[in-house]
Amino acid sequence: MLDVLKSPVLAIQDYYALTGRALRNIIRPPHYSSDIFLQMDIIGFGSLPIVICVGFFSGAVMAMQMAKALAQYGAVGQTGQIVAITLVRELGPVLTSLMVAGRTASGIASELGSMKVTEQIDAMRALGTDPIQKLVTPRLIAACIVLPLLTIIADFIGIFGGFLIAYFVLMMTPNQYWNSAWQALTYTDVFFGLLKPFVFAFAIVLTGCYYGLTTTGGTQGVGRATTQAVVVSSVLIFFLTFFLTRIFVSL
């Protein structure tokens, strides 16, 4: 029984140790600022097309579905409100993070995994560089900055997608839709809507880095690490959004 538990307990311990060292390195020199900007470009700008696409269609679909449901109560005019609240509170942060997890956690795990199996991580340590400082911390900082920004873009594009449906299909006036959407949102919604992607950024990057840096077994191991990174980071996003939402609704 103890042997069965040993492996997951050790994995959790290593994950926390990695988290601790990555956070500690934020304030400890050397700082690899060029790597932070490079990662912001890769994670942020690189994810922009897919985030816009997902944001737009989730907003549009939400508007169509909600309009149908609201029509039963004669409240189609509230479509903007429903779309805005759903996107800003939940769908925007979660869908954006899932897209970024699919792109970034897999990318990080495969890149670091390949470096591990080709002894580049060992070479880095042998040549005077802390791999966590050089590889993990810049990715963590970059993701924590760009994921909330991507969420803002996804939220806006989603609400805009909902507006197109409201205007062209539901025949609502722009004023009616945007007023309803704007009035529905509170500062708490926006705060939690941006806190979530910030927290998810930790889960995505640290999971990708953990599986990458613990890769064993050659190229097959890299493939395994990549899959595990995407699955675990996606599950962690749902797990974390549940707890954050629980805190949010109890306020």
């Binding site: 470096m115 002894e119 060992d122 070479a123 042998a126 040549l127 005077g128 560089t129």
Partner: protein, 274 residues
Amino acid sequence: MPHDDSQSVLRFEHVTVCFGDAKALDDVSFDVARGETRIIFGAAGSGKTVLLKTALGLTKPDSGRVIVFGQDVTGMEEKDLFHIRSRIGVLFQEGGLFDSMTVEENVGYPLENLLEFQLPPDQVRERAKEALRFVELEETLDKFPAELSGGMRRRVGIARAIVTEPPLILYDSPTAGLDPITAYTIIALIAKGRDLKHTTTVMATHRYQDGHFMATCRFSPGTGLAEPIAAAEGDGLGTVFMVLNQGRIAFEGNLAELNASTDAYVSKFVRHEE
């Protein structure tokens, strides 16, 4: 406790390294003196790479002590190990070159990142060019490792190992997977580095020819070639051979003793005359 034995560069004292239940190194003890060339023979999985990584502090021993340049590195923290590692050059088995960097960036990496150096970019470029000139690959400065052949990647790896002019260089299977001509070029370069820069050299290999060459040939600055030493000089140029078998030292001695060994495992690494 610091050791003041100035002749000892690398010492293993009853070192055991385990991965799970398997012992990669089992009670290994040896001492590498300043200026010595130590050849470590062993089959795949015998513990050669683990031994070199333990010497660098990349792998922690489960028991025993590792002493490098008189300092016990066994329980040393990573940041303190960087100071020790700045005095050790290393060529990894597959070269260990960074895929995302050019050859120049790879070779200049230790000069930019090791605390003892951190040179400005113009000096890094100059030193990197100099090291690449040493391995006769100056024209590859702007290429990426993926654009090079296996032999060229090893030579770039050697350039990166020697660029800081460390007093101790570790070579992990430098000729593995190479054709005989390229393997000869690599070993000749290692001998050149040893003889011109007077470095202590530890080389893990499974090829008898590599060890034999290091013990019997010396680089001649006059001809620019490695030449066999005279028989009268035949102390093997301070070369010590060690054979690892399943993590344990099966043999330690000079070339003559290696050739004379009757041990069944050890003699597999010796090319006997027909």
